[in-house]
Symmetry: C2
Subunit: 543 residues, 2 copies
């Protein structure tokens, strides 16, 4: 029976793939779209009529409120538009007669200006509940309207993505379009690990540029870890002096302020992570006391997580966090809490005694540690923790954000949500899986997963968003940009856009239009200085 | 029973990994070596005594024969040495007292000069049987001796790899060393596919630089394929005019001559591949006649392989090959022959008739095609073909080189070798397997595989070498360099160096010293402008 089934399957697969198998695949695997937006807007009505774009006849005008963020954004996009967004026309082709374009029945004139209307005053920093919605109309009058500067920034990006080169390569066009857009999830993040390999500030800024192109709004800076400590502390300079890979591989206060300001101007929050008590090897080069000595056969064999019974640990964390929170303005702060090597704690005679005296397990010690560390954060700080902290039963305030990253994520999310906590989802979005393609990331929708099991809309609303995670073991300055992009774009669209129900859970298969659209998007990123890798196969990008 | 076995395995694995599991991994996963050569020389005696290197007090002197290739090589390495090979000393560290270095008992003075002795006249082009052996002695007199200019080039590269920065970062050193070196395999190649994505000439030249650093000696240029035809033909300009992705994405005759000359200066052969009769979709845009129309339900559904019954096909190939062979000086020429879609031939009414009349199968047609194409090559050309051509029973001259790339490669190699043909091995070395690590490539040794099955040394000698293959579906100008390097370095060392018998077949595990040595090597490539990716995990490279 099995044999017949297999035979049938092979025949069946043979039939549906017969064309693909036989025929020579000439040209790009997926021809790029022309002027399609990524991530896909919520509501978009596009007509076949078009306007021709000529930078010398075009300007951007601000009608209502303004502020430094808006002025900077207008300057950035004006510069892009002046440079035709990197789009290449062929001036050597037979020169288009003015009559030529006028005889095209879809031609509606040249694009004159973009009127930007911000109806409320700017906010100083982006935040979880910021309004990113906007309305954009490209027509005889072209307008972008939002009640928030963040919405204007998102709308400007959308506007920039509507332009395309005509089929005859003679001009740049934009179709008559109406867009009403807003994000599905509030937290659309990218984690970058700068400890396993140091990433230069210029590549971090480039990453922020790419995030803005993809409408992502949280840069989760996993700044230190076991391997190195590049954060340069004013209070504890020894930490990076001894814990950084090299004196050249540190982030100064100036560097960090540069990153935060660059991000703020693009509507991107910067959430630092100082992962404790595990993943702290590099801290221990300067401050051996704060780590636990691990024992084997009665002898110290090295260091493990922080010592949860030592006051020195908490004192250092209190003072360091105070300094860090003065640099990072975001209300959210990630204290890690993942992968704590309890075996080391269980091997240490002092901790064995401590656990015996206080009738605690090693898990309890982890809980104890986190419950002492979280209150060290400034008032009104919202802690973010990896799921282990929740799993080990630490009493957490309901506003704590739990980042789910392990297997069995649906059960985990439901459990976390049922206790009233909010979820940040990452399990399906690890970019360090080098063999994974964008389509693998594209299929996963955390709210849908929870809804499909629980049919509970209130519950699923507790998922505030997710993050693509670029762990740094195999990513450094040389390859980080093309490791992240365009694969993280799949996560960006999943978090911003409506998901076509027909493609849910169909891992490794996205809707057919998305294959063509991400080709244009990857080439768009390349034209704008982001060295994205090929999304899905053979093709090309003219720059 | 199985349960107990599993339990035992888990406990056992737990025991041997206990240290790695518990302890914080501070710093690089594999600290780089200092002044170790990749690929490993055959005989190397290194002492702990050292010489200090100061570019202003050093020069390279040629004692015997010379020629343009030698002069150019001396100029390249002199420039590198003048720039300290990119090695960074810390002049800000406490300045080293002259007494300081003199009080070091291992110090043997400053390195004065390198005497290069070439004992025979130069050859004009590298070739399969070229001599690449050399002897290098770093001592009070430092000498590099070879009877071949190719050996001198390999020796200069080795010399450049011996330098390292002292632990106190104060000076650049080179240990007293004697090396006697030669390659195990004659053909150590890299295939680059420039059809699925166009690769600019500057990245091809960079690839040749990297190959020279890794002592690889054949650039297999898979220049055209189904997707695009970037080769610009003088005789048939339509091929690239219509078949290239974009007018900017072609290789002119000048471009190709630049590549060949750059390669020649580095002792690298350039073997072009014009893959026929399959993988030729892009040819058909200009010359529809030469392709086979594929049918389904009595209707043409598209194009397949070349039409093996059409004289137009052979005439075009004859004239094109003639032109191509005037540009590429190498005696070897790759005519492809892989993955021919016989189903298309079997669907075409004209070919069905032809096969009926001549009592041929579709496989026979493939054989017929190859047997008519190979004689179109210039006299004395050695054809290279993919294994299918052998598998389908084409009568091939014994000098034909068969490139083995599919599964069951051991059986295939033995079969090919037994009929007196030579083997080029690639099955284990596909770089487009993105998840594969350098250690996966490192384990495979084609001669050893054949010897382990046959115990026949004569047979195994028929394996002339191998090639790492960078197929271009997911590699373009943005990522090709770090996709290839340092993973291809594993193949380079396997083909050049003696293999430690303890590590044979132990896929995904290399000898411990190699982990540290490839870290230095990857950083060395980065310092010399090749953006290699991290080899094995966390670490850093100061540039």
């Amino acid at each position: 029976m099995l044999r017949y089934f297999l035979l049938f399957s092979i025949l069946f697969i043979g039939l549906i793939n017969v064309r693909a198998m036989w025929l020579a695949q000439v040209g790009p695997k997926y021809p790029p779209t022309k002027g399609e937006v990524w991530p896909k807007p919520q509501v978009e009505v596009k007509e076949q009529t078009f306007y021709v774009f000529n930078p010398s006849q075009f300007k951007v005008k601000v009608l209502d409120q303004t502020c430094d963020i808006l002025t900077n954004a207008i300057a950035r996009y004006s510069y892009l538009l002046e440079n035709k967004l990197g789009l290449k026309t062929h001036p050597t082709a037979p020169s288009p007669q003015p009559e030529g374009i006028h005889s095209n029945t879809s031609y509606r004139g040249h694009l004159k200006e973009l009127e930007v209307t911000l109806t409320s005053p700017c906010e100083e920093y982006p935040h979880l509940d910021m309004d990113e919605s906007y309305n954009l109309t490209v027509s005889s009058t072209t307008t972008l309207v939002s009640s928030s500067v963040w919405g204007v920034i998102r709308g400007l990006e959308t506007f920039a993505q509507l332009f395309y080169v005509s089929d005859d390569h003679n001009d740049i066009r934009v179709n008559k379009t109406t867009i009403s857009d807003f994000p599905r999830y509030k937290h659309r993040g990218l984690l970058l690990d700068t400890s396993r390999h140091f990433i230069t500030v210029s590549n971090i800024l480039k990453t922020l540029d790419a995030m803005a192109i993809n409408k992502m709004n949280v840069f989760h800076w996993h700044i230190v870890d076991d391997q190195s400590f590049p954060y340069q502390s004013e209070r504890f300079p020894e930490l990076s002096e001894r814990g950084a890979f090299d004196p050249s591989m540190v982030y100064t206060k100036d560097d960090i302020e540069t990153v935060i300001e660059y991000a703020r101007n693009r509507g991107i929050r910067v959430i630092p992570e100082f992962d404790v008590p595990g993943h702290t090897g590099s801290w221990g080069i300067a401050f051996t006391d704060i780590l636990t000595e691990c024992y084997e056969n009665g002898k110290v064999i090295g260091f493990g997580p922080m010592d949860p019974t030592s006051n020195t640990t908490y004192k250092l964390l209190r003072d360091l966090f105070k300094e860090v929170q003065n640099v990072f303005p975001d209300k959210y702060f990630h204290v890690g809490g993942d992968e704590v090597e309890l075996q080391c704690w269980k091997s240490n005679p002092k901790l064995i005694d401590y656990m015996k005296v206080h009738k605690l397990t090693a898990s309890d010690l982890h809980a104890l540690f986190m419950s002492r560390v979280i209150p060290l954060l400034a008032n009104a700080t919202v802690p973010v923790v990896w799921q282990e902290v929740y799993d080990e039963g630490v009493i957490l305030s309901t506003d704590t954000l739990i980042q789910v990253w392990k297997y069995n994520w649906i059960t985990e999310m439901i459990n976390v949500l049922k206790t009233g906590h909010r979820v940040l989802f990452s399990s399906s979005w690890y970019l360090d899986a080098l063999g994974s393609r964008w389509t693998d990331y594209y299929a996963a929708d955390p709210r849908q997963m929870v809804y499909d099991v629980t049919s509970n809309k209130t519950l699923m609303a507790g998922i505030v968003g997710g993050e693509a995670c670029m762990w740094g073991e195999m990513a450094d300055d040389r390859n980080v940009i093309n490791r992240v992009w365009p694969r993280a774009s799949a996560v960006a669209e999943r978090l911003w856009s409506y998901q076509d129900s027909s493609t849910r859970y169909r891992s490794s298969r996205a809707p057919s239009e998305a294959y063509n659209r991400i080709e244009e998007h990857a080439c768009r990123m390349i034209r704008r200085g982001i060295d994205a890798q090929p999304p899905s196969g053979p093709g090309f990008c003219v720059v």
